[in-house]
Symmetry: none
Subunit: 529 residues, 2 copies
């Protein structure tokens, strides 16, 4: 019996596994958990969390993800069919797949005879047994089993009969989904379409599609397979992945929902598409691609004068979709648009009542423009944005002032001597406080010195914890004189908030983000009594 619904098209995200194979992608355990949580909230049906048999970090993910109590997503552990000439129950990698205790297990197996003979160096027959045994064994332990047929299209083109025998073996053993993988990413859309259609008509089990972008065709290949009968589509957010990347789920989702009339997300989620894309880039510390289809900063940017003029007459004249549908917006590169309504909406979100005709809105817009030109980004730093609005729109209490800081770092490698020290002078409630602290690095030392200065006045500052700290270089072609954006996430154990600071000096940028974080916390404390 297949546990998966057979007629509904489902999204399967492998950002945390295949995406992590990308050259520039390195997820920590906490990165992976945060992304899983977000993908669940967004409405992705399957989340492949990692390969428990490959490293301890991936294994820990599966135990920790349980405590996230995901709303709807099924977590899948990834592995491969058993080793050749080994009983399935003795295969360590298969055992770890069970120990991961995920409801879904996805196993990859060979379907290209060339690989069976020359890479696995085993027989046609043994490979079929490996597929059958592995699927059966996992099914007998109550798992939903997805079989990824590696190199399926290459295999099918070179030996159709054997490729079909491989997936038949998985089907007969009870697999819930069989996913056709264009592992090397070199197939053309019409090949993918025709082969998928042939497979769908000869299998009862629902078929999935897994593509790579080596020919710049991953999205087209996935869509074509879906059009030809595939019911599951595998990909990664923003197309992360080895070489040229996996199929970009962001574009797949938008095309399915907006062009092909296939609903794959819960109601109201499509408009979070851009936010999701930015969130994952932020966690992965990848600079968002401005030209990314649907969600990129330039995706609805218009430069040419004729286009802009036509746009004024007729919105859809140079736009394939309404950018708001995916949470993006139009940008006119000559003669900026006002965006007043955005500020009003944002202020409302933050609990600040504001009329559209309030003259202060223009001041806010000017300030944002000025800060964005310096490299500030408020999309993922709402606490800094809230402070900015509060300071410009309503009377604002002042908590403390920085008078001076000094940081000194001395290192003598031959003597194994290193010291990093920060001094801070602040004025608070009319008092002048002067503190000094050491730290692992300059920012750590500053953070400690500032807490030391504030603890007498705000003892609860001990609860304040920095959860995350990220650094992004802007205009990196300036080398060590580039602008630097620091993003900090803080918590008091109840709420989480993010702040941002920008400077040519990383210490100053960090200081600005830290300062905003503490100020936001003080403001919240004051307002909540």
């Amino acid at each position: 019996m297949h546990t998966a619904a057979t007629n509904q098209l489902v999204l399967y995200d492998t950002t945390l596994r295949d995406g992590a194979q990308g050259e520039d992608i390195h997820f920590s355990l906490s990165d992976k958990l945060r992304i899983a949580k977000r993908l669940d909230e967004f409405g992705i049906a399957y989340i492949e969390g990692g390969w428990p048999g490959s490293n301890p970090k991936d294994f820990s993910f599966f135990s920790q993800v349980k405590s996230l109590n995901l709303k709807q997503a099924k977590i899948a552990a990834f592995g491969s069919t058993r080793k050749a000439m080994l009983a399935v129950e003795e295969d360590q990698q298969i055992r770890l797949l069970l120990e991961a205790q995920s409801p879904v297990v996805t196993i990859v197996g060979k379907s290209w005879l060339l690989h069976v003979l020359e890479v696995l160096r085993t027989s046609e027959k043994e490979n079929l047994a490996m597929i059958r045994d592995s699927v059966q064994f996992l099914k007998s332990h109550g798992r939903e089993v997805i079989f990824d047929a590696e190199h399926f299209f290459d295999g099918y083109k070179s030996n159709k009969e054997y490729a079909l025998q491989c997936i038949k073996a998985a089907e007969e053993a009870g697999a819930d989904f069989i996913v056709l993988c264009d592992t090397n990413g070199g197939s053309l859309p019409w090949e993918i379409g025709q082969i998928t259609s042939e497979v769908c008509s000869s299998c009862k089990v629902p078929i999935g599609i897994h593509t790579h972008n080596d020919g710049e065709l991953a999205v087209a290949n996935a869509l074509w397979a879906i059009k030809s009968g595939a019911r599951q589509v595998q990909g990664t957010i923003n197309g992360y992945g080895e070489r040229t990347g996996n199929c970009n789920l962001i574009s797949v989702i938008a095309n399915l929902e907006l062009k092909m009339g296939q609903k794959v997300l819960p109601d109201g989620k499509l408009k979070e598409l851009r936010e999701l894309s930015l969130f994952v880039d932020e966690i992965a510390n990848v600079r968002p691609n401005p030209k990314a289809p649907f969600v990129g900063r330039s995706a609805f940017a218009h430069k040419g004068g004729t286009h802009v003029n036509a746009l004024q007459k007729l919105l859809r004249s140079y736009e394939h979709i309404d950018p708001a549908l995916v949470g993006n917006h139009r940008r006119i590169l000559v003669g900026e648009l006002s965006g007043k309504s955005n500020i009003v909406l944002k202020a409302k979100e933050l609990g600040i009542a504001l009329e559209e005709n309030n003259p202060n809105i223009q001041r806010v817009l000017n300030k944002i423009k000025e800060l964005e030109a310096k490299g500030y980004e408020f999309e993922s730093a709402e606490a800094s944005f809230a402070l900015l609005l509060r300071k410009l729109l309503s009377p604002y209490p002042s908590f403390f002032h920085l008078l001076e800081y000094h940081v000194s770092i001395r290192q003598l490698p031959s003597k194994n001597y290193k010291v990093c020290e920060a001094t801070i002078k602040i004025s608070i409630h009319g008092e002048r406080v002067y503190t000094v602290a050491e730290g692992d690095g300059p920012v750590h030392a500053l953070d400690r010195a500032l807490r030391e200065a504030l603890v007498k006045f705000y003892p609860a500052i001990g609860q304040l914890r920095l959860e995350d700290y990220k650094v992004r270089i802007i205009d990196s072609t300036e080398g060590t004189a580039s602008s630097i954006r620091v993003w900090v996430e803080s918590t008091d154990g109840k709420e989480i908030w993010s702040t941002v600071g920008v400077s040519h000096d990383i210490v100053e940028a960090s200081w600005l983000a830290l300062f905003d974080s503490i100020e936001y916390w003080l403001l919240k404390k004051t307002e909540n009594g």
Copy 2:
């Protein structure tokens, strides 16, 4: 009579016109001339140079390009059909098209009735007359005329008859090519295929295709149109262009030649594909996309241990084409999943001969493991990795030693005072050198002080430039005491290399990456004499 060959598929490059509409693209006149020369050498059949009617720079291009004496490419001037209710010979923009004296003129005209009525605000009939008059007039002046049917697919879907009337008008007036444009980039491949095929069967004139990447489908859409009968494909190098960009000719060319058996380049040119891509990025000052299909730095990079193992057994096991065919090469990434075979392959790549059973390999693996546990990543820091291999596997010259550095950052916001200063003490060639420098931030100051110390011994250090600088927090849950990885990319104008440093202190991590970068440069200089 049509002057274009009708059965040969031809490449039409619009990097210099539509590509220049990209948000980040700004070509000078000399940039445009250099690119035109290179495209000609590469074997592109048509080069669209600009819109003589839109600005004087584009107009000058057409007079200056003549003195380049291109070998084979035809230069096209771009413009639009005449204005409504104006005699064609009185249209200033059309006159400038003739004055450009290019052998080819490409004019864009409306084929979507909605645009005729609501953007042009003229009648169905007048638009047809505009097309007819403009094509006829340019033909009567001896030009090869290409008609770009703007928004053709949207037009066809909303009013097929009128869209066809538009291109029929161009055909009857003597156009040599009619190009179907998916101007808004929102069409799906099967729509493009079907419509192109219908048009091809109802027209005698050869049909071309012009697509945009708004759905991440531009390349697939172009290929599908070609498969359905199109004989000209328009695009830009690296997919430059407004919004999400135009169809990427680089990927189109590689797919046509390597996957579809369609020869579009002169013999021996395909292997210059990567060079062409990098050349145009260099002129446009665009950072090359490492994930670019076929030509990107990561396009044939392999990370996973299983993949690397399989590659040794069978090259095509995880590669869709031989990278050398497009002038690219395989890269083995050294990472947490790596084994002995990665090290051997990597050493070979770096020119260090190493047998699989060399006992030093284990030392290298242990060292890598130890450094990776600290947060090092060598996958994208090949120069640091090469230094490590060199130091562990062969006698290594020492260039200079750090004795001490000190960094001081003082800030007094109320007095608007800020100074960041670094002192460095090194021992070099038996001499002790002590320097001091200020900078925008601590790393900038250290970088300057170090150069100051080295310039007397290595005057060529002035050529050394930092190209990129990235900071990544590892285990960011430690807040400001987290480990920090700094990645630096450097160049001496000829080669580019990357290095890495890790520490809890961002200044020290940056110092380590800088130090490796300079040491690698010195090593290369020494080894190359």
